[in-house]
């Protein structure tokens, strides 16, 4: 069986699940941010695969992926700024210690 749409979708699903596990299980906030980037990349792979195999002439999936990349860049900048601001006040990036807004 030659490589087709399903292979890319399964690869994307595997990457998304790995990223989800990292987001839920890790305690270091920077690693959590890295895992969010993995999840966004997984979604981009499936968008580009749909664009390639379902509508090869329209490129709408690739344009959507460009917007996802832009939003991911903005999210990374703001997220890292928040992490560094919290690190300044708490001397830690451990999410278990980020309980400032916890009831």
């Amino acid at each position: 069986m030659s490589v087709g749409l399903e292979h890319y979708l399964v690869l994307s699903a595997v990457l998304f699940s790995i990223g989800l596990y990292g987001v839920l299980a890790k305690r270091n906030a920077v690693v959590i941010l890295m895992c969010i980037e993995i999840m966004l990349n997984a979604v981009n792979i499936s968008l580009v695969a749909f664009s390639r195999y379902v509508v090869p002439m329209l490129l709408t999936g690739q344009i959507f992926a460009i917007f996802v990349i832009v939003v991911a860049a903005a999210e990374a900048a703001v997220g890292i700024a928040i992490i560094i601001a919290i690190y300044r006040s708490r001397q830690s990036v451990d999410v278990d210690k980020f309980d400032l807004m916890k009831w």
Binding site: H7, A13, L15, R27, V30, M34, E37, V54, A74, I80
Partner: protein, 161 residues
């Protein structure tokens, strides 16, 4: 030939993603994240998305990974590394369940693929549909505002009091 390239890429990608999650050294995790971004750029090339591959290298490998590495250097931990938290087993169960559901759905769905050859090169076509008549010009403008807001927000958050 194409199949072999895809399988090698898939193996390296999944291995790099697992290394990001498993490695306790945060800096090594960031380096394997860079490897992941690069292999995803090559995956875009195998999908005939040449412009997107260049964008991936520029933004992810060039900008976001540098940002993450700088963040790691600025937040030197007392306990170096990233140990898993208390929710490790539930997180594993949830992500495996989600993976099983997604793989089952993908395999059991009959996808309507088009046999047309892919459009290439894609740069001119993407530019036309982003900025041309009846294209995505409004989302592009909104994205510009979003980027400006993100930059201002990051500066305000990180400024010394």
């Amino acid at each position: 030939m194409f199949d072999i390239i895809f399988w090698i890429l898939a193996l390296v990608t999944v291995g790099a993603a697992l290394a990001v999650v498993v490695l306790r050294d945060v800096f090594r995790a960031a380096l394997s994240l860079v490897l992941l971004f690069l292999t995803i750029a090559v995956i875009y090339i195998t999908l005939y998305a040449d412009f997107l591959a260049v964008v991936q290298v520029l933004i992810y490998v060039g900008a976001i990974s540098i940002l993450i590495i700088v963040a790691i250097m600025l937040t030197r931990e007392v306990w170096h590394g990233s140990p898993p938290g208390k929710l490790r087993i539930p997180a594993l169960v949830v992500s495996l369940l989600l993976l099983g559901t997604m793989v089952f759905t993908v395999i059991s769905t009959k996808w309507e693929t088009s046999g047309e050859p892919p459009q290439q090169p894609t740069t001119a076509a993407i530019g036309m549909s982003l900025f041309g008549e009846g294209g995505f010009i409004l989302p592009v403008e909104i994205t510009a505002v979003l980027l400006l807001a993100a930059v201002l927000g990051a500066i305000v958050l990180i400024r010394e009091k």
